[in-house]
């Protein structure tokens, strides 16, 4: 399983690289527009070690950022799930803030929080949480009547229970979105590092961009993709174990679990 995902990643990356080389030699672009294979190999050898640890650093922050964003998404999603005035207000606030480009909001964040780890984490979480929020709101706003009826009829319904029922009914969708959001956490952390930090692979990419060094950027992209594949593999594995312990669906699916 682990093998498959990484294999797939290699395949995709190789395809991308070949495409790029195709463009280079097809259009006869010089090495400073798109570097040649030789330069890419030399450069990536040279920076591999540093970039490896940079990416690891980024991944750590992304993991924490993702945890925070899952928390935020559920917090906002649960508070905003009802179509009451307060609910829609929170929703409106969440949506509006999201529309603001992070680069425009970043100066304000720095003013309020300084430029430490917190800002980096907050920016990463803000980028990652919104897609989660959309799914969580979508799921939380939809009653599971056949299951909730008893609890409502007997006056036992609490918001925790409602949330639990709806989350559980949609556990497959939620795990897909959560596992997928690791991608966004990673991207978010890189953006945060790009504008705020002095470490992590985002910072390295920024430097490489200023130096216009596409070979380095490609190396960074390779490492990002690799680490992410591994992380997602782990997440999905955990998700599968968690949910399969819970649900044994009645029906054809149970056979091929």
């Amino acid at each position: 399983m682990l093998g498959r995902r990484i294999l797939q990643f290699f395949l995709i990356f190789a395809l991308g690289l070949f495409g790029l080389m195709g463009v280079k030699y097809g259009l006869g672009l010089s090495d400073y527009v798109i570097p040649g294979p030789g330069e890419i190999i030399t450069t990536s050898r040279a920076v591999a070690h540093d970039y490896f640890f940079d990416t690891l650093n980024t991944l750590m922050v992304a993991v924490i950022g993702q945890a925070i964003s899952i928390f935020m998404a559920f917090f906002v999603g649960i508070t905003a799930r009802k179509s009451t005035w307060a609910g829609t207000l929170i929703k409106a606030a969440a949506y509006n803030i999201q529309a603001y480009p992070i680069v425009a909001v970043a100066p304000i964040i720095f003013i309020l929080l300084g430029d430490g780890f917190t800002s980096r984490l907050l920016i990463a979480a803000m980028i990652c949480y919104f897609p989660l929020l959309l799914s969580v709101i979508g799921i939380m706003a939809e009653p599971v009547t056949d299951m909730e009826h008893f609890y409502i009829a007997t006056g036992r319904m609490r918001w925790q229970l409602e949330v639990k029922i709806r989350a559980f009914e949609n556990i497959g969708k939620l795990t897909t979105v959560i596992a997928g959001s690791s991608t966004l956490a990673m991207a978010g952390t890189i953006v945060a590092e790009f504008i705020a930090a002095n470490q992590g692979i985002g910072h390295s990419i920024r430097i490489a961009l200023y130096q216009s060094d596409l070979s380095r950027i490609l190396t960074a992209l390779f490492l990002i993709g690799l680490f992410l594949s591994i992380y997602q593999e782990i997440l999905e594995g955990v998700g599968k174990r968690l949910t399969s312990g819970w649900i044994l669906p009645k029906g054809v699916e149970s056979e091929d679990l």
């Binding site: 920076v47 720095f110 003013i111 504008i195 920024r206 200023y210 130096q211 216009s212």
Partner: protein, 306 residues
């Protein structure tokens, strides 16, 4: 309160343009002055003047246009030293293109400018001096990405002479293309670049500390640019700017020296009063500030380094 760590926020990422700042830190110039200083990298979303006010930093580096804008909005910022005597912001162009000897040679070319950046201000001033309007040239919006220049879709591209300038020249050189630079200062445009700033409050409350800092910093800069310290300076750069190839770092360091240590022999850090005034005039002309701010009031008395 000498035990307290002083944050010194740079304008840009660690690169050759801040060699003196790093040198002063690493070779104990601040320490010997009894100060603990933390030199922090900057970036486009960073603004040292804001951080001074918020107390996130005690000293910082800001460009002259930032200082003037901040003064226009009542920020109590003061300049205690001017790092670049010559603005490193210049335009690079391919050697095979017709040379630009006067601003009027810009006519008909595609000019890269960062809209909102001070290169736009400088370029517009140059155009105004040469009586060129926007119809006479094509302004091309510059981003962090050099591809349009590489692809030769833009004639001249703004860059820091001592940093990206070296790198671009090197890349094109490898492909056998020569380059030239177009320096506005050669055409009478003095637009001051980076300076060291602090808040009026800090200066007022703790003049000795500010003095000590400025002295240590300038000594650090002087030392870093002495030819006999070249290897030490390069070692510092290697440490903080590991991503640039050694060969380029050497070239960049050599290109930085004449920008900070002018031929006139003025001391490092000298505040060029006339240059500041011209900068303000240009900004007024360009409508970047609505009324005079009398920037000389923000400069440390007499324009002399502390």
């Amino acid at each position: 309160d000498c035990g307290e760590t002083l944050n010194y926020r740079l304008k840009w990422l660690f690169n050759t343009s801040v060699v003196g700042d790093l040198y002063a830190q690493d070779f104990g110039f601040f320490q010997r002055a009894g100060l603990t200083v933390n030199v922090k990298a900057g970036g486009p979303e960073r603004d040292a003047i804001r951080e001074l006010e918020l107390g996130h930093a005690t000293f910082g580096v800001a460009s002259a246009d930032q200082v003037i804008r901040a003064r226009a909005k009542g920020a109590p910022v003061v300049v205690i030293a001017q790092l670049f005597q010559v603005n490193p912001l210049q335009w690079i162009y391919r050697g095979v293109k017709p040379a630009i000897n006067t601003p009027s040679d810009l006519k008909g070319r595609i000019l890269g400018v960062t809209f909102g950046g001070n290169d736009e201000t400088i370029m517009r001033t140059l155009m105004a001096r040469a009586s060129l309007t926007e119809k006479d040239v094509t302004l091309f919006s510059v981003r962090y990405d050099y591809t349009p220049f590489y692809q030769d879709r833009v004639d001249i591209w703004p860059c820091y002479r001592n940093a990206q300038g070296i790198m671009l020249a090197d890349k094109l050189g490898q492909a056998g293309e020569a380059v030239r630079f177009f320096n506005p200062a050669d055409h009478g445009i003095t637009f001051v670049a980076n300076s060291v700033v602090t808040s009026a409050k800090t200066l007022e409350r703790n003049p000795e500390m500010v003095q000590a800092f400025a002295k240590a910093l300038i000594s650090g800069w002087e030392a870093s640019l002495m030819p006999e310290n070249r290897d030490k300076a390069l070692a510092v750069l290697r440490k903080y700017n590991r991503d640039t190839p050694e060969e380029l770092r050497q070239k960049q360091l050599d290109a930085t020296r004449p920008l900070v240590l002018p031929e006139s022999g003025a001391r490092v850090g000298t505040i060029d009063l006339k240059g500041w005034k011209q900068t303000e005039t240009i900004m007024l002309e360009q409508g970047l500030i609505s009324k005079p701010v009398h920037v000389e009031k923000a400069l440390f008395p007499g324009g002399k380094p502390l």
